[in-house]
């Protein structure tokens, strides 16, 4: 009955072993059951678009750790959206994109298409499971449908743990196919927009404005990511993604003004034209830090660039802290800044040769956006919680190029203010 003779110090190794036993379970392993989030989001742009968006997001976590997620979103948009035409000191009359009816923009105002109205429904499902103790696979399908747009996609990823589960490597792939079927057909690129439907040009001319009924686009995404546990309180993530899309990128509802080269007044309106492909790349870095008192700080930064010459930076910070046992507050600040696409232009000048591509869509222009607000949450029990979120968005655009004539009197890229309000209820059972 010889007892072991080697009584070395083992506390260090034992602490490491205990740490990996307890950490994984306490943090990473979720309790099996159903997790259901329901939310309604309201989005209001001053004088422009209003959106109401109910969301249901249900996740089932099985006893073996596998996860099934189903999400349904209904998006209802109404209101007015800039049509791309530039501001004038005269009244401007436009045809609706559908070719039916028109609208009038008063002098000195940014032309907005006030018939913007759509309902989008989106359904997605994703299943994630462990192939073995270190490898997780996931696969998903997504479907989205609105009046003139349909999208279907699938995605798949593999995550593998290394280094005692402190490092996770993620490889992801996604494919999406979109079809757009605008009412009235696809406009001819750089085709002239009719001003007085039914009264002006003959129907043969009208026919020539449209070149087909629908157009397609496919998007392929690849992602490589590393998540690293820095210590018990800190987690860091670094992703690189590459996205390549082919097909129809033009917005069939957006136009460009052709302005007089000296007065700056609009002479004609042309449908816009964008390249048939786009390659985007981005680097995303995120850190999550849990403070000793249980508060959580989330910081992230994204750098995105594409072959349209758009370059953007996004900085996002959230800080969750408890006010009482049940009540918590999560302030949020996000700053976005973007450099314009190479072919972005507020308007075209008469007499100039048409460029290969051009768009006056403000989303392709140079602008900064600041989002700020807070979420207030109340834990009803350890299984359910209600929260509301109120955020404000300020967007400031830069005028690109040199304004001509009357354009000097106006802000060609007016500010956009929006309010976001969300009400959510989450429950686990």
């Amino acid at each position: 009955m010889q007892l072991m003779s080697n009584k070395r110090k083992i506390t260090g190794l034992l602490a490491t072993a205990t740490c990996s036993l307890l950490n994984q379970n306490a943090v990473a392993q979720e309790i099996p059951g159903w997790y259901v989030d329901t939310a309604v989001l309201g989005y209001t742009e001053k004088d422009r678009v209003d959106a109401v968006e109910p969301v249901i997001n249900a996740t089932r976590i099985f006893d073996d750790g596998a996860k099934l997620n189903v999400k349904f979103v209904l998006d209802s948009l109404t209101g007015a959206s800039p049509n791309g035409a530039t501001i004038s000191d005269q009244i401007q009359t436009f045809t609706r994109p559908s070719g039916r009816g028109g609208y009038v923009t008063p002098a000195g105002e940014l032309p907005l298409d006030d018939t913007f109205k759509d309902t989008r429904s989106a359904l997605s499902a994703n299943y994630e499971f462990s192939l073995n103790r270190l490898t997780r696979l996931s696969a998903g399908l997504a479907f989205s449908d609105e009046y003139d747009f349909t999208s279907i996609g699938f995605n798949s990823s593999v995550a593998r743990d290394f280094n005692n589960k402190n490092t996770t490597l993620l490889l992801g792939f996604a494919y999406e196919s979109d079809t757009i079927t605008p009412e009235g057909g696809i406009p001819v690129r750089f085709g002239s927009v009719r001003l007085n439907p039914g009264r002006g040009p003959k129907w043969e001319d009208e026919e020539r404005e449209r070149e087909g009924g629908d157009e397609d686009k496919t998007v392929t995404d690849f992602l490589v990511g590393v998540t690293q546990v820095i210590n018990q309180r800190m987690l860091m993530q670094l992703n690189y993604s590459f996205s390549s899309s082919d097909g129809y990128h033009t917005d069939p509802f957006k136009v460009l003004s052709v302005v007089d080269r000296t007065s700056g007044r609009p002479l004609d309106y042309l449908y816009e034209n964008r390249p048939d492909s786009r390659e985007k790349q981005s680097i995303y870095w995120k850190t999550k830090y849990s403070l000793i008192n249980g508060n959580v700080l989330d910081l992230s930064y994204r750098y995105l660039w594409d072959d349209w010459d758009i370059v953007s930076h996004t900085v996002d910070a959230r800080y969750l802290f408890d006010l009482t046992d049940r009540l918590y507050l999560e302030p949020h600040v996000r700053y976005y800044t973007q450099q314009e696409a190479e072919f972005f232009s507020h308007s075209l000048r008469s007499g100039d040769a048409l460029p290969q591509y051009a768009s006056a869509d403000y989303r392709l222009g140079a602008f900064d956006g600041l989002t700020y607000g807070t979420k207030l949450g109340y834990r009803l029990s350890n299984r359910s919680e209600v929260s509301m979120r109120l955020e404000f968005y300020d967007q400031r655009g830069d005028t690109v190029g040199t304004p001509i004539g009357i354009q000097n009197n106006y802000d060609l890229f007016p500010n956009l203010d929006a309010t976001i309000f969300q009400l959510s209820y989450s429950i686990r059972f």
Binding site: L14, C19, A26, D63
Partner: protein
């Protein structure tokens, strides 16, 4: 899966604390919570009880549908285990290595030869020798998540389960409400922080010979305590005392184990392992503990 365990729970107010009580893993369990809202205390108590019962149910040797009986009846075939069990097996493997075979989750089969019930006899050497080929975690093949246990061998998580449940419960409660908490499952204890630095948690370590009487009051700000004891069960034969702490490397009781060892560490699992290892070192328990540079209380 069989019906989840449901037993009564009790919540009482003691001074500025809520005290929740229930039974799990054959032990009285207690949660001390420094907070005011009764409904939060009740919720934490339910959370603690369900976690303790979940671990008890999942790792019981006696529930036919559990993972442990499935492994023990696998008859030499590989069994694929869930992630939580895989982590426990990883941990058990590391403890086996660290203790150089003294802590072994396959040693439970010695119960076939050794009984410490009143009137039981000391087994003969042949019976013990016959069991020895079935002991030794190194005889199993563990390639996570697949465990292949040679036919006839058995494992159990009895030596880890309770301390593990204490740590997990504390982590879950703390995630739900970040208030001063103490979790005590039958003397295995972990706490996050004390209600007031001036007033640390005071934990009495029981004197093994006089049940219920505190041997020493220990002040704890945060961290864990676990106790391993050989106190009440032993056989006497021809003037020789045979304790119930068995050495898996010999199949015989450890010689001169302390009556009780309590160790303080940052987690209950760690404290429990150190106390168990110390017990298995028998007469050298103090030497082992001194080497570990931990706070401990030992009774001979």
């Amino acid at each position: 899966m069989s019906e989840a365990i449901q037993r009564p729970t009790r919540l009482v107010r003691k001074g500025t604390l809520w005290v929740g009580q229930f039974e799990a893993m054959a032990s009285p369990c207690e949660i001390l919570m420094s907070l005011d809202a009764r409904e939060v205390a009740e919720e934490l108590l339910q959370l603690a009880a369900s976690e303790a019962w979940r671990v008890e149910q999942k790792y019981s040797r006696y529930r036919d549908d559990g993972i442990v009986p499935r492994i023990n009846h696998s008859n030499g075939q590989p069994v694929s285990v869930d992630p939580e069990t895989a982590q426990l097996l990883d941990f058990a493997w590391q403890c086996y290595t660290l203790s150089e075979g003294l802590f072994d989750i396959t040693s439970g089969i010695l119960r076939k030869a050794w009984s410490f019930q009143a009137g039981a006899a000391v087994p003969n050497a042949e019976d013990i020798a016959a069991l020895m080929p079935l002991i030794g975690l190194d005889k199993a093949h563990w390639q996570s998540p697949d465990l292949t246990l040679p036919a006839g061998m058995q494992i159990d998580f009895g030596g880890i389960g309770k301390e593990y449940a204490v740590d997990r419960t504390l982590a879950q409660l703390q995630q739900r409400a970040d208030v001063p908490l103490l979790v005590n499952f039958g003397g295995d204890i972990a706490c996050n922080r004390c209600p007031d630095p001036e007033q640390p948690w005071r934990i009495g370590i029981e004197a093994p010979s006089r049940q219920g009487e505190a041997l020493e009051m220990v002040a704890v700000q945060s961290g864990a305590l676990a106790t391993s004891g050989s106190s009440y069960r032993y056989l006497l034969s021809e003037g020789r005392r045979y304790g119930h702490v068995l050495n898996p490397r010999t199949g015989w009781p450890v010689e001169e184990p302390p009556l009780s060892v309590t160790v303080a560490a940052s987690t209950c699992t760690e404290a429990g392992m150190l106390a168990t290892f110390a017990m298995l070192h028998g007469r050298d328990a103090e030497v082992f503990l001194e080497k570990q540079e931990v706070r401990y209380w030992l009774v001979r």
